[in-house]
């Protein structure tokens, strides 16, 4: 028998009032896989993450982590199954230091001594925030907060990491660093990454799932997706259009 997929959704739907935010999504991710989610704004990517982390409950359909349904589980129980998330706007303990943020993440699943070790390793080596270790996160810039949150998620040592626009607001060099970091993390954790930047996606992903209007439009390797007419229409068409605008 094969192992069950790390994450599997079946006919997953949620609607708020009349709005069908996620509609009939069948999605599955193998252990160790890195998947990119793309799609125009409002396509349901962030909502999909909220369903995977239990922040929203689905209207219908199921989510299973390691073959186990997460229906009825609280957010913290799902986190304990090994799911970590970096949110679009960094969500941190603002008045605590970088080290405390990362330590709290490690401490949940580890002894105090192990948590100290993990915090040191994450801060010094994995995200390289040593000079800010004792700085309150509220005082950091948006870019640095992105990195702190990445550190927080890594320190959980989760099986699955959800990253919602990890490179948003980053420029050339930082983006490259982030891509390297993601590839490194992927050696130990499976990941789902929501991104807009195509260059970034090409750099990190093999498989891409395209969301549109709450549904999965295409799911394939990067090149196939980029060549797909429908994808160009709903997503890339818009983006190249925008680039034209700014270029003009």
């Amino acid at each position: 028998m094969m192992n069950p997929p790390l994450v599997e959704t079946r006919e997953l739907s949620v609607h708020f009032g009349g709005l069908q935010a996620v509609n009939n999504v069948n999605f599955s991710l193998r252990d160790g896989e890195l998947r990119c989610l793309i799609g125009p704004n409002g396509a349901g990517k962030t909502t999909f993450f909220r369903l995977l982390t239990g922040v929203h409950a689905p209207t219908s359909g199921t989510v299973a982590v390691n073959g186990r349904s997460i229906a009825g589980l609280q957010t913290h129980q799902i986190a304990r199954l090994g799911v970590g998330i970096k949110t679009q706007i960094p969500s941190l303990f603002d008045n605590l230091s970088v080290r405390e943020n990362i330590w709290l993440s490690a401490r949940r699943n580890h002894s105090r001594a192990a948590a100290n070790r993990i915090a040191d390793s994450v801060i010094m080596d994995e995200v390289g925030l040593g000079e800010y270790a004792n700085t309150e996160t509220a005082k950091l810039s948006h870019g640095l907060r992105q990195w702190v949150e990445l550190g927080v998620v890594i320190a959980q040592r989760p099986k699955l990491i959800l990253l919602d626009e990890p490179a948003a607001g980053m420029t050339g060099h930082d983006m490259e660093k982030t891509a390297e970091l993601i590839k490194r993390i992927n050696r130990t954790s499976a990941m789902i990454v929501v991104e807009h930047d195509m260059e970034f996606i090409k750099r990190i992903a093999k498989t891409v799932t395209v969301f549109n209007r709450g549904e999965v439009l295409v799911e394939s390797d990067v090149d196939t997706v980029l060549a797909d007419e429908r994808v160009r229409e709903v997503y890339l068409g818009k983006q190249t259009g925008r680039q034209h605008d700014t270029g003009a």
Binding site: T75, H76, A79, P90, R107, N134, L140, S141
Partner: protein, 350 residues
């Protein structure tokens, strides 16, 4: 957790308590000591809310419920049993149990903020109504008539455990109250710097983030609430000892407001602040009473409004910041300004 725990507040508390216990009974007479005792007792009450609000982020508008329950439990227990040790313990256990029930109801129902305020306020009013309506001989617990609006008089003093006849003198009650104040302060300080305490603070900072890391916020809040309830109950027990009397006034709205004023004046998010706020406001209240010209409510209300408007962090954090000569929060990056609007409790991917 950073290896170097800060022990000087604990040392300061021990020294302050020891000097108060040694020096004050020598220089003051019993009447003056009795006046000082109430400061210590109410400071214990201040600490209990300082913990659950300042560190747990749970703003209870009806914190006096636990104080009142402690006072009533001690009164009923002591008068029924004769020996006061069990009554003393019950005065913490009963409020703690009630806090557990109420806390379960609130936190596992995901009730927070204004709604939590409304419910806790309502609960204290229910107790006030019920306690006030227990006049008449049919309302007794054991041998003790609850006495309705008039309350329960002639509550026996605490005795040394095992010696029912060895009751505490005024001086001994003073020493006990100061010792308990120091003990509660030190325990809370240690608790806050423990791993448990770090998580409690983290949940106050950002509950969603804490849950996404796998912490059960409901459980931590519940434990925080129960600890606060037990401490407030202990303060109530001491209070019943101090006056030898308890009445529904302990459940009154004014009692709950008073604790909140201490905290706002002294500084939410500190332990020393609410104690200082409590002593300051009590001193002010009794000074005003001795002048008898200015209305007490006028002054208390005025102070509360002015502090919220002009000194929103309260005395202790403001003074601490001035002492350190530090400017208010500055971000470390020029680009931060535009993005600084990140809400403190941003929802997932909001």
């Amino acid at each position: 957790m950073n290896g170097s725990r800060n022990y000087w507040p604990i040392a300061a508390a021990v020294i302050a308590a020891l000097s108060a216990i040694i020096v004050l009974p020598v220089i003051y007479d019993e009447y003056a000591l009795l006046q000082l005792t109430i400061y210590a007792i109410l400071s214990v009450l201040a600490l209990s809310l300082a913990f659950i609000w300042g560190y747990g982020g749970i703003l209870s508008f009806g914190h006096a419920v636990f104080f009142g329950l402690g006072a009533y439990t001690y009164a009923i227990g002591a008068m029924n049993f004769g020996e006061t040790t069990i009554a003393l313990l019950l005065s913490m256990v009963i409020p703690a149990l009630f806090a557990a029930a109420l806390g379960y109801f609130l936190f596992y129902g995901r009730i927070s903020d204004v709604y939590l305020g409304a419910i806790t306020l309502t609960v204290t009013l229910i107790f006030f109504d019920l306690a006030s309506s227990t006049s008449g001989p049919q309302y007794r617990i054991g041998q003790v008539a609850l006495g309705g609006f008039n309350g329960i008089p002639s509550i026996p003093q605490l005795n040394v455990p095992g010696f029912p006849d060895w009751t505490l003198s005024t001086t001994e009650l003073f020493i006990l109250s100061v010792a308990i104040l120091a003990l509660v302060y030190i325990s809370l300080r240690l608790l806050i710097s423990s791993d448990f305490g770090r998580v409690v603070i983290a949940i106050k900072e950002n509950e969603v983030r804490a849950e996404l890391l796998g912490y059960d916020a409901r459980k931590y809040k519940l434990v925080t609430f129960v600890i606060g309830g037990a401490i407030a109950g202990l303060a109530g027990c001491l209070f019943a000892n101090w006056g030898g009397f308890t009445s529904p006034a302990v459940f009154a709205l004014g009692q709950s407001v008073q604790i909140i004023i201490w905290m706002v004046v002294g500084g939410v998010g500190t332990l020393a602040g609410p104690v200082i706020g409590c002593v300051l406001m009590q001193w002010l209240t009794s000074s005003l009473a001795s002048f008898g010209t200015v209305n007490n409510n006028l002054v208390l209300g005025g102070i509360l409004v002015i502090v919220v408007l002009l000194l929103p962090q309260g005395l202790v954090p403001t003074i601490a910041r001035l002492a350190r000569g530090r400017r208010p929060v500055q971000r470390l990056d020029a680009t931060a300004g535009a993005l600084g609007a990140t809400p403190a409790k941003s929802e997932v991917g909001a």
